[in-house]
């Protein structure tokens, strides 16, 4: 309570009043909350449909108070296309991890973006398959040790990481492609703003929007939460620079 | 009434279209009809054929082995279908392109220089309709006027300018086999009904 008794902090209406299953220190909780805040702020909870991926956030539909579907692994953008094309008045977002979006679901992502589908993709990049126990992901950094790259990712044998924003922003159908993080409060504020713009882009029918969140995985990285945030800041962001990769001119005029 | 017709030629010779004219007319005349094309790579210049069945009864099998009537528009089609025509059936041969003759004595064979006749009418691509006319000139399984009505009713708007030329091509085929008037060569109508 502030001095005059005004309520300054509460659970967003779009966020369910349940305990999540996420590990301590994981950024999913922060991103969920930010999405819920933005849904509340834009007043769209009753016309939003979310699509959960396969991965750690497979149960995301338990955590939002809006309609939700659970997609097959990687297929969320195709499913979102089906929903949005039949109900353009709905606000449709997918919530996907790096294995889901940048490996098994690359085709669905790329083509939804190329078609300029009016959907919003929230992409959580923590460089590892979390739910299955820490295997190499398409975004695992060179040299990074995972259970399926036990000697560190050798780019000669295991290839290079996929930089999603750089890739997708080449497509003419995209309107708003940005990379943010949540490792410190200033970045969290920027992320919140980006999520809001992404939804606004969809509501203004400007095209495909994607917000990548450079994220962490203390459990599978074998770090404390604090160490994992330092790894995000020093190593992850070095490979995945934060910034705006495509912002169509019309987006800049959005209020 | 039960006729099983095969029309066969190179892709682009209009075998499928000639078959559709039969099928539409058969339907408009109140018969049961089926039309099956060969499909796939044939459309890109190989051989193309269609099977048309016109019947007074429900059509079970739309595929046949022995046609009662067959139009062959090129040599490979002649080779393939000439032996298969049902005894007592009719074989119409595009003699501009097919230089061989049928040895069979149990079918009726007519040789029609369809490319030449069509070229004389101004468009060699109408050889298919000339052959259709020749076929109906020998066996009027559907009224020739019915085929003309089909051209008027079913040709899409962008192809309506072909209606009158096609009617003339149809008539030319009928006339050729009925009056045995050749173009640039003597008539080669041979009847060999066994």
């Amino acid at each position: 309570m502030s001095e005059d008794g005004e309520l300054v902090f509460r659970r967003p209406a779009a966020l369910s009043d349940v305990v999540t299953h996420y590990c301590p220190g994981c950024m999913h909780g922060i991103v969920h909350r930010l999405i819920a805040e933005v849904i509340d702020e834009l007043g769209i909870r009753e016309r939003t449909v979310g699509i959960a991926p396969v991965g750690c956030s497979v149960l995301a539909y338990h955590y939002f108070e809006c309609d939700f579907a659970e997609a097959a692994h990687g297929r969320a953008p195709a499913m979102a296309t089906g929903i949005k094309r039949t109900h353009p008045e709905l606000v449709v977002f997918t919530y996907q991890g790096d294995g889901d979006l940048a490996s098994i679901g690359t085709n669905e992502l790329i083509h939804a973006a190329a078609r300029g589908e009016n959907i919003t993709v929230v992409f959580i990049n923590n460089a590892v398959y979390g739910m299955t126990g820490g295997q190499m992901a398409p975004t695992t950094l060179p040299g990074m040790v995972t259970t399926s790259s036990p000697y560190g990712r050798d780019v000669k044998r295991q290839g290079y990481p996929v930089r999603v924003c750089e890739l997708v922003s080449q497509l003419d159908g995209t309107a708003y492609i940005v990379r943010r993080s949540a490792y410190k409060p200033a970045e969290i504020r920027k992320l919140r703003q980006a999520l809001k713009i992404a939804f606004q882009v969809q509501m203004a029918e400007l095209g495909f929007s994607l917000v990548e969140v450079v994220s962490n995985c203390p459990t599978n990285w074998g770090m404390t939460p604090k160490e994992s945030l330092r790894f995000v800041e020093e190593r992850m962001i070095a490979y995945y620079p934060l910034g705006d990769y495509r912002v169509r001119d019309e987006v800049k005029t959005l209020k | 009434m039960h006729e099983e017709v095969i029309i066969s030629g190179f892709g682009g010779q209009g075998a499928l279209f000639a078959g559709q004219l039969l099928a539409y007319t058969g339907m408009d005349e109140g018969w049961h009809v089926t039309w099956i094309p060969s499909y796939g790579p044939e459309m890109r210049g190989g051989t193309a054929h269609c099977v048309v069945i016109i019947s007074d009864d429900d059509i079970g099998s739309p595929v046949i082995r022995n046609p009662t009537i067959c139009i062959v528009m090129n040599p490979p089609s002649m080779e393939k279908y000439e032996p298969l025509v049902k005894p007592g059936g009719l074989l119409v041969v595009n003699s501009t392109l097919v230089r061989t003759r049928s040895e069979r004595g149990d079918i009726e064979v007519v040789y029609v220089p369809a490319n030449d006749l069509a070229a004389e009418l101004g468009n060699v691509r109408m050889a298919n309709v000339v052959l259709l006319g020749a076929m109906l000139g020998r066996r009027e399984i559907l009224p020739i006027e019915g085929i003309k009505r089909t051209l008027e009713r079913h040709l899409p708007a962008e192809r309506r300018r072909f209606i009158e030329p096609n009617k003339r091509a149809l008539d030319r085929g009928v006339e050729y086999v009925r009056k045995q008037i050749g173009v640039g060569e003597p008539a080669r109508l041979e009847e060999q009904v066994g």
């Binding site: 909870r45 009753e46 016309r47 449909v49 699509i51 959960a52 149960l59 539909y61 108070e65 809006c66 309609d67 939700f68 579907a69 659970e70 997609a71 097959a72 297929r75 195709a78 499913m79 979102a80 296309t81 089906g82 929903i83 949005k84 094309r85 039949t86 109900h87 709905l90 085709n107 669905e108 790329i110 083509h111 078609r115 | 009434m1 039960h2 559709q20 099928a23 539409y24 339907m27 109140g30 018969w31 049961h32 009809v33 089926t34 039309w35 099956i36 094309p37 499909y39 796939g40 019947s55 059509i59 079970g60 099998s61 739309p62 595929v63 046949i64 082995r65 009027e140 399984i141 079913h154």
Partner: protein
Amino acid sequence: MVGTRLSGWKGYRTMKILMKGNEAIAEAAIRAGCEAYFGYPITPQTEVLEYMARRMTELGRAFVQAESEVGAINMVYGAACTGARAMTTTSSPGYSLMQEGISYMAMSFVPCVIVNIMRGGPGLGNIQPSQGDYFQMTKGGGHGDYHLLSLAPSTVQETVDLIIEAFDLADKYRQPVTVIADGLIGQIMEPVEFPDLKEPQRPERPWALTGAKGRKKNVITSLFLDAHELERENLKLQAIIAQIKANEVRYAEYWLDGAEIVVIAYGTAGRIAQTAVKRAREQGIAVGLFRPISVFPFPYDRLREIAETAQQLLVVEMSAGQMLEDVRLATCNRVPISFYGRMGGVVPLPEEILDKIKGLAGTGS
């Protein structure tokens, strides 16, 4: 001319049109109120996609040429989650790719219509007509315990009628419903009649994802981490399948009175066999035809009855003998069963089947 003219067409509704099977499938779906179509080009079904591209757009309904059959089925899944009548069509290799999405839809109780215009396989095979996907269509196809209601037409008119019915059945059972046809039915032109154009209707679908306005949120998922919970959901699904088995058995019978030999064939093979059986009858052979129209549920009970009076059965398929297994199950091998199958896109001719019938009747050469 000889012969009798048709006095009137069965079920004459508007006006008969000569139409290719694939185009008739598209138009039938439109008339049934299909609001959303997603597909990918594959021979021999591509005309459905092309027709839908034109007509759905004209009507202001949803159409997307998907990036793959995987994309297409998941777009159908999404559209169907909102309660829209949604459809995709494909051919064998594409149907294989769709299995994942179909399994998800079955377990999350989402209706849709899927058409498989079968072609020769396995592998890339060819583009000629085949019935090699019977197992995949009737025994599940994807992972997990499910069967989809699967209807097998043999003419273009029957295809139209079954497509329209398939949408109603999908809604009734909240399950994907499949129509199983082949390249011949896709490519053949026959006269057809259609019912009047239906405006898309959205019956009450309280489960649909339409925005949680004035109600609790809806969730559509096939994920049930608790084993007992997943078993309960499976039991719900099995109860639906039991209903389908009880209510939706369909078949056609021809000349079964006094038939000592009964030919069993579905779809294209069924109509070809019809000609062979008719000719055999004309030659005095006591033969009839049994044509399953629902291949799931398979008409086990009726076939069991037939096996009690028939002396032999002849199964004809454009496959190595897939429906044959269901015939064996139905009749418990009480009567001798012969099989005639063609593969690789070879379509059997009536003469081949007739020879086989004559052989069984002891009148063959």
